[in-house]
Symmetry: C2
Subunit: 582 residues, 2 copies
């Protein structure tokens, strides 16, 4: 490609509403152009990178035996009503009506459509396993779209869906997709981690996220440097920090703690470690009777250590809280505790509540908690002696750095990550409700065992930049760079020698299949360098008259601080070597 025949349009400054570095750099480099909040055009430069990502995904999915198809963007409500997700998907699913007032959704994902296809076209176990995938536009009407392509509303996603005869076979499909994702992200060239994850709105009972490591990531990834344990913090198991409960050593005492409504305040006031305090959190569930009519409210008191935080995802999986909970209102708290928040605790309640203690809290002794009396806490609290054992002991807190790994192989570390892929084992969640069956070897209909597997194609670009950039701009991994090499001729308009050598190198590299751009715009070196460093092309060759007289050109790798002088007659081989290693 010649720059004069391409569309380059770089900006010195990003638009003021751009928030994160990948968004700013993609806008400045001219890769994307905003059409509306969370909705972008992908300009020729950006589309080049997207196509490279798509090609890698397609090659690896095909290699794994998956088959590409395309499902509609505008999907009939009837299918979404079959699974109940028409009602449960919430406002992120954009709904619309056609001219005949029929309801449709813009696909946020395609479990319903693909299951409908499977129940029509897969009749026999002999047709299994099957894995269908598409690389297609998705739409999710984010309440607050932001971060450019990182949390856009319209985006490109690869979504795949596997159909199997049995749980065991589905496990193989899951493992194959896991391995395929590993190959894909290895080829793309990002630093990433596969972590166990929550299944969220998609459902099912096993899932892993592929997280690109970046300080700016929205997700916290917990991992063990000494083992292969890795999980999203939503899911990462927090073990008890105390092996067993020590015998009481202190007497229960009601201690004045005026104006100290947080554990940190109390620990500071009493000059004790924060880890001796216990935090009280109050949740509420709205009960219904056998007929589904409202039947009052149950309050749940959750205890975590003062230096820990509640994990709502784990909490939402506890019996009694699975169908939904909310934080209790001040009135509800007052009615049960006779006290305002800040001084709540499990001793001396007005009305009974369900008591859930975190694993660590259940092993604490001589701890401090609110006394249900404003400006007072209990100290020297001990289970059994001062209050009954908790109703439930469970893992309800977030892991913190340095906690023991649940596999017993060391301590945990935490990184920030950007989710770019997600694999789910769905089981028969969709096939059962949509009655999608095949005839098994015994002649009997069975529900498909399913998995689903997503990759955020456009988000990968943002994640790659969040992970790889500097003050000058983007630093693309070679595999998804819009161009692999840029040739910058200095004095294009003036020097025939420069033009000749630049074109010769350009043609030689093209002939070797190198994705090279020749900057024939006749711009000053400073302008060219600034553009290509912003755009992030991995390899740059500068050809000038002075160097040519000595038979040398300048080479700079995008990550390298220094320019190196290389012989003109070896530069092509040098570049091919560098690209071959990439």
């Amino acid at each position: 490609m010649r720059a004069s025949q391409f569309h380059l349009f770089t900006l010195k400054e990003a638009p003021s509403d751009a928030e994160v570095v990948s968004q700013k750099l993609m806008l400045r480099a001219g890769m994307i152009r905003k059409a509306a909040a969370g909705i972008y055009s992908y300009m020729p430069l950006g589309l080049r990178s997207i196509r490279k990502v798509e090609t890698i995904i397609r090659e690896e999915m095909d290699r794994a035996g998956a088959m590409e198809l395309t499902m509609p963007l505008v999907q009939p409500a009837e299918l979404w009503q079959e699974t109940g997700r028409w009602d449960t998907m919430g406002p992120e699913m954009l709904r619309l009506q056609d001219r005949h007032d029929r309801d449709f959704a813009l696909q946020p994902t395609s479990e319903e459509v693909v299951t409908d296809i499977a129940r029509q076209e897969i009749k026999s176990y002999r047709q299994l396993p099957k894995n269908f995938y598409q690389i297609q536009t998705k739409f999710r009407d984010e309440r607050r779209p932001r971060f450019g392509v990182m949390r856009g509303r319209e985006f490109t996603m690869k979504d795949a869906y596997s159909f199997d005869r049995s749980k065991e076979a589905a496990g193989h499909s899951y493992a194959l997709m896991f391995a395929t994702y590993t190959r894909i992200f290895d080829r793309i060239g990002l630093d990433y981690r596969a972590v166990a994850a929550d299944t969220g709105a998609i459902g099912g009972d096993r899932s892993h996220e592929f997280q690109v490591i970046a300080d700016t990531g929205e997700d916290a990834i917990v991992y063990c440097p000494d083992s292969d344990y890795a999980a999203n913090i939503e899911l990462a198991e927090a073990v008890s920090l105390l092996e067993h409960r020590a015998e009481p050593g202190q007497a229960l005492e009601k201690t004045p703690t005026p104006g100290s409504a947080t554990c940190a305040d109390v620990a500071a006031l009493l000059q004790v470690p924060l880890a001796t305090t216990v935090k009280s959190l109050v949740l509420a569930t709205d009960d219904v009777d056998a007929k589904g009519e409202p039947a009052g409210v149950t309050l749940w008191l959750l205890l975590v250590r003062g230096d820990h935080s509640l994990n709502e995802i784990k909490t939402s999986k506890l019996d009694g809280l699975k169908t939904g909970f909310r934080f209790a209102t001040e009135a509800e708290i007052d009615e049960h505790f006779g006290c305002k928040p800040g001084y709540l605790g499990p001793i001396g309640l007005q009305k009974p509540v369900k008591l859930i203690a975190d694993r660590t809290v259940a092993h604490m002794s001589d701890f401090i908690c609110g006394a249900n009396d404003a400006d007072f806490h209990f100290t020297g609290v001990n289970w059994g002696r001062d209050l009954p054992e908790p109703d439930v002991v469970a893992d309800i807190r977030n892991v913190v750095e340095g906690n023991p790994s649940p596999d017993g192989k060391g301590t945990l570390a935490i990184q920030r990550g950007i989710e770019v892929g997600h694999v789910f084992y769905l089981g028969d969640k969709y096939s059962k409700v949509m009655n999608a069956t095949f005839l098994d070897e015994d002649g009997k209909p069975k529900h498909f065992e399913m998995g689903c597997y997503g990759i955020g194609v456009t988000r990968i670009l943002g994640a790659a930049i969040e992970q790889n950039h500097d003050a000058r701009g983007i630093i693309w991994p070679t595999a998804i760079a819009p161009f692999e090499v840029v040739i910058c001729p200095v004095g294009w308009g003036k020097s025939q020698a420069v033009r000749d050598e630049a074109q010769k190198l350009y043609e030689a590299l093209r002939a070797q299949g190198v994705d090279v751009i020749l900057d024939d715009r006749d711009e000053r070196p400073g302008v060219m360098f600034a553009d290509w460093e912003l755009i992030g092309v991995p390899h740059r060759v500068t050809i000038g008259e002075r160097g040519l007289k000595e038979g040398v050109v300048e080479y700079q790798g995008r990550r390298e601080a220094e320019v190196s002088k290389l012989a003109l007659d070896t530069i092509a081989a040098h570049l091919l070597g560098a690209l071959g290693q990439a």
Copy 2:
């Protein structure tokens, strides 16, 4: 590809709601699967053909220097309001609202978005010419979606938009795209014709359609076998069939024509040629005064020869009718003509109307027309003598087969066609209203001269099938066939020799880059042949044990009636030769 690892799903019968042959065959072959009216999933088999069409388009667009980008599917109303098309596009443009009640459209086309990009990113004449294209999902909410992918609601379209400095430069871009389309449709291998066409809702002042010739086409294409004249019947010029007006030979006479309300009835009753009669059609325009308030109705009497039909597209371009017209109501007709339709004519009106005569009618003498009196016609009517000259003489009729070609080089023929491509010269229609300018060499801002260029990617599949099929199924042009060659081993499960030779041929062809599928399903020959003839693979090789003993295999081209026996050791070369010629 091995059939056992692919997803094949053929049907003996098409669903009962399938109307046309391409739709029936695509459904039966398992290329598409209906999700809702006019909305389809493209199954792996169908997607293979689509990808081949896309690749040809992409290669030729890139060769022409066009640059690929992707514009959003969900487009903000503001841009459509700028051009006024938010109001004029009608219910075919699907509108929707996001969770914040902001208005959006699903893109039916992208002139607004691309012009918005150009006005932001093209600042100088030095950046011109530019041609941006995308291959993207489009949505048009057809009132009655039908014919499968031929008139679907969700479909894939390649749309390109050129930006130029001047009308002359834009003419070059138009010509380049015209030539590119010719290359594209040549490569796809369809029998097609480029015809002059109306510009419709897109606007602009020049356009050509690329029409695939097929008896089932919705369009009528007029062409001259002796010259390169070709136009959609909407636009095809109808010259006067009479060189000049003859002198009157008959007296005007009011003749009883009881119960004869059509020209055909009158001609039969009076035993005269239909070409001596004149048909009267009454249109109405709703007038407005200078303030835009309603100001009554104007009636227009249009006269075409009895054997001709009115062309509403041409009519809509006449002064006074450009802003819209409708057929007059019976009450309006009664008020102006004092007569019911069937006996209307230009003589003896109650109230004045505008009189428009077709070119041929204006040259007629001694003709027959309604007498504005039920059951009576005038015969021997002559212009000037019996009624004043018409207000306007214009080409308002459809061409019929055998009419003189407007270029004077022979007579016209008519074919049916399916529109698969359309090129438009837009001029400054969009750039002016959106104030999209660049700085020209003289330092002054100028509006871009634009063109736009569409290809219906998914419709090409339907058109190819409408043109190429037989009782057994689809006959794909090789360039867009889902597979080029199928190998059908007879006795796959039983004969090691058959398996070995089939696999050897399969690998040999794959090594040569042939897109071959090996039918390793172990089905009977009849089942395999029926599937592959339905699917339409151009070349089939059958390998059986009996043939192998003689060193031969059976070859059948999809269009050939007979099977030929070919030596096993020459079959690969034979296939490569056949594909090379394709």
